[in-house]
């Protein structure tokens, strides 16, 4: 390192953490210099989260030392971590929605810190200007967008004059423009000497911004590298190890006949923090994947709920399947007509956590497995076992409870279960969110195979790269509006990114924009 004359900001020596049945961290050593942006990479379950939680004092390691600014420390709680100058931005934000921005920040500060700052609101405004964060201290958090919330989290760390900032998948919820903004902030911080530990699944981001990367696999450090000297593909290879094939470009298809239509769907929000749908129309054709991009919370959940029938309000003619109105039908009846869903929330919506995989299969697959009102357990068990084998779901067996599976494995299972019904229309939200590279590849191929059989697929995702990879046609949602639908080849990340930020709303729907 060029700054080798300095003492490391943080050094982890042989950190080991054993959970029942799983060695999460196995003899991990890492060191970070002041001002270094260090990527922590690895598949799900590689031990990244455990490691950063150890640094932040949420998890205590079984073995190993933490050396901070050249001095051995024991970080027993997050408040000790914060006193040292360690700040963390969580993947699922730890903000309180019913409190204001400055109240949220105040909660993290000790009395002495508060006294040293004096007027907190003023300090927030000042820092906000300095780093271009645009955070208003008096707003209530529930009124903020996801990007703004993340900036509040970063502000929370800045106010404490942080020396090491840990970010857990910070870009997964941001528009491309917001990502660029975040990277500017990180670069400024780095220049001022703040070290940054950056967890991400998006490899091109790592090669763009990080000085160094540590790759974990199965709880061990398998490699360290300088990302600028690598390509996303070579890093992916280090993460997965025996990666045989990579997602390359897939052939785009043009859909044939129109299968599923949404016509002028407008719907007020049901939840206090929900989004109203505003005049949404699109057509889904047989044999195509329609990708819908958008930052979380812009109407995707509401759209999914009304299409699946989970939202029971009658929108009869706004939804048609093969020219038949289905907007008044019960969710179960829609399934019988050939609709299938993979919701974003795996536990609770996609699967019942406390039920076995077999029982979860039965929930959406009753046909053929119920004879004279009785469940034919042997055949459903057998069927579930074939699903597990076909989609390489890692579990103890068909009797495993859904909640015992890791996110990626459960997703593969749900995907297989839904595809197994040979649906005419599959609505699929964030299929690879939090899923590792290998599982994502399997899910992608399953989706493409289903498309090639003639199903129509609506793919809602926050991962733009994934959408460009899979979707034949694309659109974006913003604040409950749907952008124009275009062929994937005829658009680019820049345009979709602008649509995600809502630029299409005024240019296309002037009068509707004014109304809402």
């Amino acid at each position: 390192m060029k700054r080798s004359n300095l003492v490391s900001r943080l050094e982890l020596v042989s950190i080991t953490k054993q959970y029942p049945g799983c060695l999460a961290n196995d003899d991990i050593s890492i060191s970070l210099m002041p001002g270094e942006i260090h990527a922590l990479l690895g598949e799900n379950g590689a031990g990244k989260s455990t490691l950063v939680k150890t640094i932040y004092g949420v998890v205590s390691p079984d073995k190993g030392d933490i050396i901070w600014d050249g001095r051995e420390v024991s970080i027993k709680s997050p408040s000790i971590a914060r006193d040292l100058g360690i700040g963390m931005v969580f993947q699922h934000f730890s903000l309180f929605e019913t409190l204001t921005v400055s109240q949220n920040i105040e909660l993290c500060l000790s009395k002495t810190q508060l006294n040293a700052i004096g007027n907190l609101a003023e300090r927030i405004v000042q820092l906000s200007k300095e780093y271009g964060l645009n955070v208003n201290p008096d707003r209530y958090v529930h009124s903020l967008s996801i990007g703004e919330r993340q900036r509040v989290e970063i502000m929370r760390c800045l106010v404490q004059s942080v020396k090491l900032l840990i970010l857990d998948e910070p870009t997964s919820v941001l528009t491309p423009q917001e990502v660029a903004g975040l990277f500017d902030v990180l670069r400024t911080l780095s220049k001022e000497g703040c070290s940054i530990l950056f967890i991400s699944h998006k490899l091109h981001e790592v090669t763009e911004i990080c000085h160094k990367a540590t790759i974990l696999r199965g709880g061990r450090v398998v490699e360290t590298c300088v990302p600028q000297e690598e390509t996303p593909a070579s890093i992916a290879k280090m993460m997965v190890g025996d990666l045989a094939e990579q997602d390359a470009g897939y052939a785009k298809k043009i859909g044939t006949k129109s299968l599923f239509n949404v016509n002028c769907l407008s719907l007020p929000a049901k939840q206090p923090f929900g989004t109203s749908l505003k005049d949404i129309s699109f057509e889904l054709k047989s044999g195509e994947i329609l990708g819908v991009a958008g930052v979380a919370g812009n109407g995707q959940d509401e759209l999914m709920a009304i299409i699946s029938g989970e939202d029971e309000r009658d929108v009869k003619n706004s939804l048609t399947l093969e020219d038949k109105a289905i907007g008044h039908l019960h969710a179960g009846d829609r399934r019988k007509l050939g609709m299938a869903y993979v919701p974003e929330e795996r536990l609770g919506r996609g699967a019942v956590p406390d039920m076995s995989l077999t029982e979860n299969t039965l929930l959406t697959h009753s046909d053929g497995f119920i004879k004279k009102g009785l469940v034919d357990w042997p055949s459903i068990q057998k069927y579930t076992e074939t699903l597990i084998a076909k989609y390489k779901v890692k579990c103890h067996g068909e009797f495993s409870e859904a909640k015992s599976l890791s996110g990626g494995n459960l997703q593969k299972f749900i995907m297989g279960r839904e595809i197994g019904q040979n649906p005419k229309v599959l609505i699929c939200a964030h299929p690879t969110w939090g899923v590792d590279v290998g599982a994502a590849l399997a899910i992608h191929q399953a989706l493409l195979a289903l498309r090639d059989q003639g199903a129509a697929i609506l793919l809602i995702s926050e991962d733009i790269d994934e959408l460009f990879l899979l979707a034949d046609r694309m659109a974006a949602v913003c604040d409950g509006h749907l952008s124009p639908v275009v062929k994937t080849e005829s658009t680019n990340i820049d345009q979709i990114g602008q649509w995600m930020a809502g630029t299409f709303i005024n240019s296309n729907n002037d009068f509707k924009g004014a109304k809402s």
């Binding site: 959970y19 455990t50 939680k53 949420v58 998890v59 709680s77 997050p78 408040s79 914060r82 963390m88 969580f90 934000f93 730890s94 903000l95 309180f96 929605e97 019913t98 409190l99 109240q103 105040e106 909660l107 993290c108 939840q271 206090p272």
Partner: protein, 310 residues
């Protein structure tokens, strides 16, 4: 109606509303931290009987109140240990606590049923009580009513203006996030539940030492349940709890008032007024789901296990 009668009605409304105020304030703090304690009625009954026994035995009403508060606290600790430590279901445990308290209080108090004691005497506050109209209504009560005023105003300040209030809200909304920023969630919840117990004990003491200075089996007559409704009615705001408690107090003495005015309505029908009012208020509030969700502590009733963080 002449103004003397109105003064008397309002005076009585405050008196009747005071036990509701105590217990609802306790439940409010408890719920704000995300814990739903349905054991109010049981804690209150235990407070009432132990308070009465202590006062009966020592001859000091003050000691009675102290004993009642201690008993309420003890009862709430049973609840807290089961729910917070062992992760038991809050609703079931709360109901069990009520049943337990109802039975135990009847057993413990069986020897003193019908005995009377010297309760607290009203103290007219000099000067303030001379204010026409209001002075009579507000400032000629006993010491427990005055302390309920003081507690309400203290809570108004603590909940809305201090860091303790912020912490409480944070824990009730998102205990995992609170834990992540270093707030000791279980400790906050323990203290909140204990506060709820102490207040329930005071409410019980008010019943058996002031309101009707004697012990009768089941004398709280469902006030613990009304208090639960009252917290929802007040949409988890301290100020509205005070207002609501007096309104409910007023509703429950309406039958006496109307009888006094010579209306011939069955006293049984009138006695159920507060309960009807409770139902109506609950329906109105739940009809507006939008609002209910914004106001209620979001993690209310959900257990928090810090070990699940990892």
């Amino acid at each position: 109606m002449d103004s003397d009668l109105i003064v008397q009605i309002l005076f009585a409304a405050i008196k009747t509303g005071t036990p509701l105020l105590f217990i609802a304030l306790g439940e409010l703090i408890c719920e704000k931290s995300g814990v739903l304690n349905l054991g109010q009625e049981g804690m209150m009954l235990m407070g009432a009987v132990v308070g009465f026994l202590a006062a009966y035995g020592t001859g000091s009403a003050g000691l009675g109140v102290l004993a009642a508060m201690l008993m309420g606290c003890l009862m709430s600790l049973i609840f807290a240990a089961l729910v917070l430590h062992l992760g038991a279901n809050q609703v079931a445990t709360g109901l069990a606590l009520t049943i337990f308290g109802t039975g135990l209080s009847a057993f413990v108090g069986s020897g003193v049923v019908g005995q009377t004691i010297q309760g607290f005497q009203p103290i007219a506050i000099p000067l303030l009580s001379d204010i026409p109209f209001i002075g009579k209504i507000l400032f000629t009560h006993d010491i427990l009513v005055y302390s309920s005023f003081a507690i309400t105003f203290a809570l108004l300040y603590v909940v809305n203006k201090t860091r303790i209030g912020l912490t409480l809200k944070a824990v009730g909304e998102n205990p995992h996030a609170a834990n992540a920023i270093g707030i000791k969630v279980l400790r906050v919840r323990y203290l909140s539940v204990m506060f709820g117990g102490v207040m329930a004990g005071m409410a019980g003491a008010y019943m058996s030492l002031v309101y009707t200075p004697m012990w009768v089996e089941n004398m709280t007559a469902g006030r613990g349940w009304i208090a639960l409704a009252l917290v929802v009615f007040a949409s988890w705001r301290v100020g509205r709890i005070m207002l609501g408690a007096y309104l409910f107090g007023l509703a429950s003495i309406m039958h006496l008032v109307l009888q006094g005015l010579g209306w011939s309505i069955s006293p049984n029908l009138l006695a159920m007024l507060p309960y009807v009012a409770t139902v109506i208020v609950m329906v109105i509030i739940s009809a507006d789901q939008f609002k209910e969700k914004l106001l209620a502590p979001r993690s209310l009733g959900k257990p928090f296990d810090p070990r699940q963080m990892a």
